[in-house]
């Protein structure tokens, strides 16, 4: 192609042979993929397959043992602080402060990502309306039900309009309706141009993604849109696709 | 019964898996007993002394030499006027200033009376009184020397025996205290934090709704820590006897028995604390910080209980360490038998029962 500049504005995440070793154990084994701007990219796999480890490398939380990667154009090995400025993150534990109020959590993370107080206030008001959280605004996050917390955590993670948001198993422990509502929020975010990188072990959620990769034993064994994968594996559902791949797996629940 | 043993075994595995924590729990007491055993003493040694004398006469020189020669004092400075006294203290050059009257020896010879003034830095009042006490003794012994040059035909000779601790080692007084403190703090902390941890993780509830009686659940929880504490006790004993040279003058068996009882009480205390704390941090704050100061100050480990005002003596009597330390001193240092510690054993046994009783009740309540 003609423009071989490092920073390709359409490829928000690029991974080239990313590897992470813990001693002799290869948690992530030479994975390569690219994520386009505005995509919802699903990162699937069983527990212990290496999803979380891979994601942590992309977020700058973990130094790769081998390979290269860029997020928002910044190198994840050498420019981690720049990476962090451009991303949002939501972990399995939701990571909001239980002893701070809803608006206080928003204010804190907004401020951390460099937003100014007037802007924070304005956007908080808007967010409360959108989420229908007006009554919850002054409540301590610890007192909120799980589903509320998840939605709030997601909203906080994209509050500063990052280029890409990383979600690590964001919908654990809630009923399917709440999960569905959560995914509405994700769609809303992508419509604003935010790229979504989400790991999950719920196979039905795979259907919501634009493209999906399936990790088995640290390697990517499949990477395509859900529709194409179903065709490829002659499967009725993503669950079926996964079962076929998982049968090859040697690692169970690390 | 078999169930109980399998639970206990599970608890052991659980603990042994966390090697770092075990290392910390085993090493801490070792370092502590060595440090404290050697360092904690109120002996007066090599105290810096300044002397103020305007005349360099025989009497004052003799006294100065005696002071310097004693293990208690080290004469570091000679000053010549009263203004310098302020400086000496302000700059912490000496803790005691000995002021000889002008023409000391002359006055002594001709009038038979002369003055020495002892000025002590009393920021530490206890040390200060020791300084003046020992200095006075030395000056008096000089006086005796002079007197024995005169005729003193009638002699009452005191034969002195220092019982139990002939060398007056500080360690003899403090090691039992340090032992008591370390055991209770570590046991209470270990147990309370571990149990609260399980509460936090939710696994405690699972155990409590199991068909096993709550008392067995609790016993299985405590057992590994009991063993750990016994290891600590043994280590501290070995170090006390062989490194600190504090011998066990009395029955080793009695010592072991009362120590086991005490460890049990300490663990029960940890248990009680765990029922009161909802987070690990709270458990640690109560058992670590909360227990530390009362044990240090009121258990008799440092400050003698008999000196305290009565209300504090009463408070002191609910601190298990107080009874244990008293028992250890009786057996280890004084070499007395089991019959001498009946009171202590009784109190400790009572405490154990009460603590376990209250904890059991609290556990039951939570289930309902």
């Amino acid at each position: 192609m003609n423009n071989t500049i490092q920073y390709n504005s359409n490829k928000v995440i690029v991974a080239e042979n990313l590897t992470k070793k813990f001693g002799n154990f290869k948690a992530v084994d030479h994975i390569s993929f690219e994520v386009e701007r505005g995509e919802i990219f699903g990162f699937l796999g069983a527990n212990g397959a290496g999803k979380t480890t891979a994601m942590r490398m992309l977020c700058g939380l973990s130094i790769p043992s081998g390979g290269k990667g860029t997020v928002a154009g910044y190198d994840i090995g050498t420019q981690t602080e720049l990476v962090k400025k451009s991303i949002g993150y939501m972990s399995q534990k939701f990571s909001l402060y239980d002893d701070l109020k809803v608006w206080e959590n928003i204010e804190l993370f907004g401020g951390i990502y460099g937003m100014k107080s007037p802007e924070i206030k304005e956007k908080t008001d808007a967010l409360m309306k959108v989420l229908d959280f007006e009554n919850e605004r002054d409540k301590l996050v610890g007192s909120l039900p799980l589903g509320f917390k998840q939605k709030l955590a997601f909203s906080v993670s994209i509050f500063h309009n990052p280029q890409v948001v990383f979600l690590d198993e964001p919908t654990g422990g809630v009923d399917p309706i709440t999960r569905r509502q959560f995914w509405e929020l994700i769609y809303e975010a992508t419509s604003r141009g935010i790229t979504v990188f989400v790991t999950t072990h719920y196979m039905d959620e795979a259907e919501y993604c634009d493209r999906v990769s399936i990790m088995v034993d640290g390697k990517i064994e499949a990477l395509n849109s859900p529709k194409n994968l179903r065709k490829q594996f002659n499967a009725d559902s993503m669950d079926d696709v996964f079962q076929q791949l998982a049968r090859k797996a040697k690692r169970v629940d690390g | 019964m078999k169930q109980l043993f399998s639970f206990i075994r599970k608890e052991f595995y659980h603990i042994l898996r966390d090697k770092t924590t075990i290392m910390i729990l085993l090493l801490m007491p070792i370092i502590q007993i060595i440090l404290f055993g050697f360092a904690l003493t109120t002996e007066v040694k090599d105290t810096q002394v300044a002397v103020l004398t305007t005349t360099n006469d025989e009497a004052s020189s003799r006294i100065i030499d005696k002071l310097n020669a004693s293990a208690y004092f080290d004469v570091v400075a000679k000053i010549h006027n009263e203004d310098e006294i302020q400086t000496v203290f302000r700059d912490a050059k000496a803790k005691l200033v000995v002021v000889f009257e002008d023409h000391f020896a002359e006055k002594l010879r001709h009038t038979g009376k002369a003055h020495i003034q002892l000025i002590a830095d009393a920021t530490d009042p206890n040390a200060a009184t020791s300084f003046t006490f020992y200095a006075s003794n030395i000056i008096n012994s000089y006086q005796l020397e002079l007197m024995s040059e005169a005729k003193n035909p009638y002699q009452i000779i005191p034969e002195v025996k220092m019982l139990y601790n002939p060398q007056m080692e500080g360690a003899f007084n403090f090691v039992p205290g340090v032992l008591g403190m370390i055991l209770i703090l570590i046991c209470a902390m270990m147990t309370s934090i571990a149990i609260v941890r399980e509460k936090e993780m939710g696994t405690m509830e699972i155990l409590l709704v199991s068909p096993m009686k709550p008392i067995y659940t609790i016993l299985s929880k405590i057992t590994p820590y009991f063993v750990l504490s016994c290891v600590n006790f043994a280590t501290i004993m070995l170090l006390s006897v062989f490194v600190l040279k504090v011998p066990i003058a009395g029955s080793f068996l009695s010592l072991i028995l009362v120590s086991f009882l005490y460890i049990f009480v300490a663990l029960a205390l940890g248990l009680l604390i765990s029922t009161m704390a909802s987070t690990q941090i709270a458990a640690m704050l109560i058992s670590g910080m909360g227990l530390m100061i009362p044990v240090m100050l009121l258990s008799g480990m440092i400050f003698p209980i008999e000196n305290m005002p009565v209300p504090l003596q009463i408070v002191s009597s609910i601190i298990p360490a107080r009874w244990y330390i008293s028992a250890v001193k009786s057996i280890m240092i004084q070499g007395l038998g089991f019959s001498s510690i009946l009171k202590e054993v009784g109190v400790l046994a009572l405490m154990a029962t009460v603590l376990i009783g209250i904890s059991m009740k609290k556990f039951k309540v939570r289930l309902e």
Binding site: Q92, I112 | I24, A92, L108, T123, K151, Q155, V160
Partner: protein, 372 residues
């Protein structure tokens, strides 16, 4: 950015069910109760007497001892075995045994013995009982000698007397509380400001909120500062409360300036917080962090001169103590309160504390890992 983090920290502290109460109640309790317990003063020495002579001299000797203010007669026994039991039962601290024919021996053979046995488990107490008792016996000796020689020996030139006069500087009434209260304030400060910032960080690690911070652009130094500053301020608050209690309850006012105290306190708090942070950076679990911090705290406290004087320690222990920030601050507090020392006179402690503060905090920042 730091203002947002500071806001968070303060709110969390205030909303914590424990902390605010602890900050106010803990100093109160410690300072109200413990100064009364902390004293080595040896008040009553309990005496057991075995009088096997039953002579005027033996009675006089006993009388003399009892009428001195040092001893209380708590036991009279017929033999040594009985007397020893009274020591075992903690009824007496020292035994005086007067053998049979005491008076006869003294008058006729010109020498007689008495046996003194002191309970030396507490070496100081034993030493004191022994010395006091012996000095009274010696006095008695002179009295008797005088009488027997018919007053001939009271010519001045054979009885030189050195009059000793003791004065106590900085604490003329030998008030032990004056000594303990500033020291206890240091203790409180150490426990609160040493433990808490570190616990706060490890706690966030366990909760998972730490990860959220690590993945954000918050620089290490900013985060650590945001943890330190609130406790620094709390530390000042605690010192103020402590000083207020010292003044209100004990009438204790420093001979020096409060500003000196605050200056040193400010540095000291940074030192202990820094150490706590270093521990928390290396600890894998909350449990470990707490045990190690507790260990340091205990060692620091015992080797600080709070309970036993540094001067009494063996050389190597004194050397170890010089690495103990608590020891230096203890010296400062006591010097400022009792001697009115100023920072110049305490320059050694000042440099030591500054050195420690820099060392620990730099180490804390360097060892804090946002990624692994």
């Amino acid at each position: 950015m730091i203002k947002f983090l500071l806001r968070k920290e303060f709110k969390q502290i205030i909303r914590n069910p424990f902390l605010p109460r602890m900050i106010f109640i803990f100093p109160l309790m410690v300072l109200l109760v413990f100064p009364w317990a902390a004293s080595y003063e040896i008040k009553n020495l309990n005496l057991s007497v075995i009088d096997n002579d039953h002579s005027p001299y033996s009675r006089r000797l006993t009388e003399k001892i009892v009428s001195s203010n040092y001893f209380r007669l708590t036991n009279v026994s017929a033999n040594y075995k009985q007397a020893l039991k009274s020591i075992e039962k903690k009824q007496s601290d020292v035994i005086l045994e007067i053998p049979p024919h005491f008076e006869k021996d003294l008058v006729n053979k010109q020498s007689a013995k008495v046996m003194v046995s002191a309970n030396a488990v507490n070496g100081m107490k034993g030493g004191m009982s022994m010395t006091y008792l012996v000095s009274i016996v010696t006095d008695f000796n002179s009295e008797i000698t005088d009488e027997l020689l018919g007053g001939a020996a009271s010519s001045s030139d054979s009885k030189p007397t050195i009059q000793i006069d003791s004065q106590y500087k900085f604490n003329p009434h030998l008030n032990y509380r004056v000594f303990m209260v500033p020291a206890l304030i240091v203790l409180i400060l150490t426990q609160l400001c040493g433990f808490l910032p570190a616990i706060s960080i490890v706690f966030e690690k366990e909760l998972g909120t730490m990860e959220q911070i690590n993945v954000s652009p918050v620089p290490k130094t900013t985060f650590i500062l945001a943890k330190l500053i609130p406790f620094w301020i709390i530390g000042f608050l605690v010192i103020t409360i402590g000083s207020a209690i010292a003044w209100a309850v004990y009438g204790l006012v420093p001979a020096g300036y409060y500003s000196t105290i605050y200056l040193f306190a400010g540095i000291y708090i940074l030192t202990v917080s820094g150490l706590g942070l270093v521990v928390s950076n290396y600890a894998q679990t909350l449990q470990q962090a707490m045990f190690v911090i507790f260990f340091f705290m205990l060692v620091f406290i015992m080797l600080s001169g709070l309970y036993t004087p540094i001067d009494s320690m063996p050389e190597w222990a004194k050397w170890v103590a010089s690495f103990n920030p608590l020891k230096h601050f203890m010296v400062v507090m006591r010097s400022v309160y009792l001697k009115g020392s100023n920072p110049l006179q305490l320059s050694k402690e000042l440099f030591a504390l500054i050195g420690f503060a820099i060392f620990f905090n730099v180490w804390a920042v360097l060892s804090y890992r946002k990624k692994n």
